[in-house]
């Protein structure tokens, strides 16, 4: 991006050290909302477990802390069901989740399976503390793996899979949007430079404009000739139809008249454009560079719809850059979601398999712990990335 971009005016930091301000703001978020706290706690105890798995030098203090945080995250996972259920059954901005066309089938399956997983987690907690007794269902197991745990974690794996799929679809969409946005920014920046160069009377630029307008006039006059001939043909067809209808206007299909009027409108547009190009060529010949620059600007401002802004051209460029940055932020967030979901699917698959066959060796444990840490790290970073880079939800 060029130096003229002034998008994303930095927020005035409360402290003179914005980094500290942001760290405190992030900490405040962890202290108030369950989801960031949950991510932080998970990453913390996974780090401790990972270090404990690699070395045996972790003190009992940290192991106790890890156990405490794990118990807290288990407790929080039970309460997650209400958030997911609320998202599914309550309208957001007047639209229900399943009726919102922006939610693809993948996202819908993701949320439904996440709700099932959360509900089963609650049931699991109930079984653990003795509130619920499932009887023989809780006893069945495949190898060393209880079926209930398999189903619960299976739902989470399916949810993560569809989350990754949904994020992947969004990534494709964002990639095409970002290409389009970059082209638009390049066009607008080039245009901005062009206006400045025209105003300064730069020869190369003026010559290229002259060539462009001359070519445009030639092309359009050819189009006008062609359309004129077509108009003539349509008119004679209309006359024939009128003759057959014996002068009865109502009997002649309106389509013919419509086609004639549309062609006429096209011819008028081409002629208007030709007049515009001729006017600009005259300005170039008369060396009225300022007038030409103003003409180019006013036309662009009308296209950009930023005429009510104090610096309309700059605003047009800035708004395109802001849009690009937003798409980029969404793209990064989606990639993080994909990475986190893939890690989670891998962790659950490996953990369930090795639990079923009772083959917990140190490499398996290290693999599971490190993949879990990686996945949770991506989720943790994503929470704060979304907060500081994406617009806040209403």
């Amino acid at each position: 991006m060029s130096a003229i971009n002034t998008a994303n005016t930095p927020k005035t930091p409360t402290l003179h050290v914005p980094a500290v301000s942001h760290v405190l703001d992030g900490s405040g978020l962890i202290a108030t909302k369950i989801e960031p706290y949950y991510r932080t706690a998970k990453v913390t105890y996974r780090i401790i477990d990972f270090v404990a798995a690699i070395t045996s030098a972790v003190s009992s203090t940290f192991l106790k802390l890890s156990a405490e945080l794990r118990a807290t995250t288990d407790f929080i996972e039970c309460t997650r069901f209400f958030s997911v259920a609320s998202e599914l059954i309550n309208p957001k901005d007047g639209v229900y989740f399943f009726q919102n066309k922006k939610n693809l089938i993948q996202k819908r399956i993701e949320k439904v399976t996440l709700a099932c997983h959360s509900a089963l987690k609650m049931v699991g907690a109930g079984i653990k503390y003795g509130f619920i007794d499932l009887g023989k269902i809780a006893v069945y197991s495949i190898g060393q793996l209880p079926v209930f745990k398999l189903v619960t974690d299976g739902f989470y794996a399916v949810s993560s899979f569809f989350a990754a799929w949904d994020a992947r679809i969004k990534i494709k969409k964002y990639n095409s949007s970002i290409n389009h946005s970059e082209k638009q920014i390049a066009t607008w920046e080039r245009f901005y430079e062009q206006v400045v160069l025209v105003q300064l009377g730069e020869e190369t630029e003026l010559q290229s404009l002259k060539d462009k307008y001359t070519a445009s006039i030639q092309k359009r006059s050819a189009i006008v000739d062609l359309k004129g001939k077509l108009l003539e043909k349509l008119t004679s067809e209309h006359d024939l139809a009128l003759a057959k209808a014996k002068g009865n206007v109502a009997a002649v299909p309106k389509k013919k008249v419509q086609q004639i009027t549309d062609l006429k409108a096209d011819i008028q547009k081409c002629k208007a454009r030709m007049e515009l190009c001729k006017g600009r060529l005259e300005k170039i010949d008369a060396k009225d560079y300022f007038g030409l620059a103003e003409d180019l600007k006013s036309h662009a401002i009308k296209t950009a719809k930023s005429s009510d802004q104090p610096e309309p051209l700059q605003y047009a460029v800035d708004s395109k850059v802001k849009k690009w940055q937003l798409i980029k932020a969404n793209l990064c967030s989606s990639w993080m979601k994909v990475a986190s979901a893939v890690c989670k699917v891998a962790v659950i698959t490996i953990a369930l398999t090795f639990t079923a066959i009772n083959l917990w060796t140190l490499p398996c444990l290290l693999t599971v712990v490190s993949l879990g840490l990686l996945g949770d790290s991506f989720s943790f970073v994503r929470v704060f990335y979304d907060r500081y880079n994406l617009p806040k939800e209403a």
Binding site: L24, F62, N90, K128, T235, D239, K254, V257
Partner: protein, 365 residues
Amino acid sequence: MSSPSSSVQQVSRIEKIETSNIQGPSNKQENADKTWRGRSVSFLTGAKAKICSIPRAIVKSLSYVAEDICQVASIGRKLNAHVLDLWEGAGKIPGYFSKFRPPLRTAVGALDAIQIAGDLDYFVNRHGREDPVSVRAGRAAILVADVGSMAMWFEQFGFYNLGKIASKVGEARIFSFVPKLTASIPVIKNYASIQRVAASIGQLRVFSLVAKLTLHVVAVSALMVGYAFLGAEAIYRLLVKAKDRCDKIVAGLDASHYVTELALGTMVLCGVTCVATLGATAIAAIVLGVSSYLYKRKIDDDKKEKERLEKEQANKVAEKLKTEQQSNDAQCLKEVQLVEEAQKLADQFKQEQQLMETQKLKEAV
């Protein structure tokens, strides 16, 4: 084959067509999204809608409470400390609750320990710069309580021993330099009375109170002070500042909540052992706290929904006005001109036909 005169007339006709101002009709816009959205909000009507809205409201309320750390910690703390005791005292508590209490205590401790970050953010980033002094004083007192709860939480892992730290701080004699100073000054060192006074000052243990008080008592006391300030501010809001019904309800709920919390804390500090009283007060505090929080969230949600609807309505009206204006300007003109143009073409054709017939007659003659 057309005659030269008719071709000239055709050319002039084309020019007339080109110079006339006929516009084609605009394409109709499909409003599928708008129709669907309208249908989505009002797809269940009447009593059925009301019945279905009850479980939705319950789930929404639970999700709001579950996503706020302060609410979860507050409810968990009172449940564990007082409500379950009440139930146990009544002799009706099932045995499996004994398994549930330790993890609940663990989770509440972990959630309480992080609250200090929110308080630091409040003060350092000056989020409360527009809050009244009593609210800031209350938050400062709650910050002290949160420091205490964090210190106690970390102590259980063995990072440090608060008892040892307290006894070491309590033993500190910060004025021990005074007798040494007076003994080294030439004139003053000869006076025994001054030396005795300096010695007694040197023996003073200014922080002996720290060794006697437990951090738990300090934290609970600080919390009570905080609730006292916040409660006073809520009562002031209720009696003086609240203008409309919503503000009065919010202030009333806040005041009741803080007063109940204050009562509960005072009873705990004073050593009240009646389980029923403590349990009932704790239940009242939970209910009032949750009601206050949910009512504020409801007001926020209603405000956002109202703004969204107003914005949507304004956009609809603006769009409709624009479309109407455009269609009013162009529609009549289009249709009339279309008919006129068709009539003109028909007239010209008739004239040409007549001319051709006349010419044929002339040729025949």
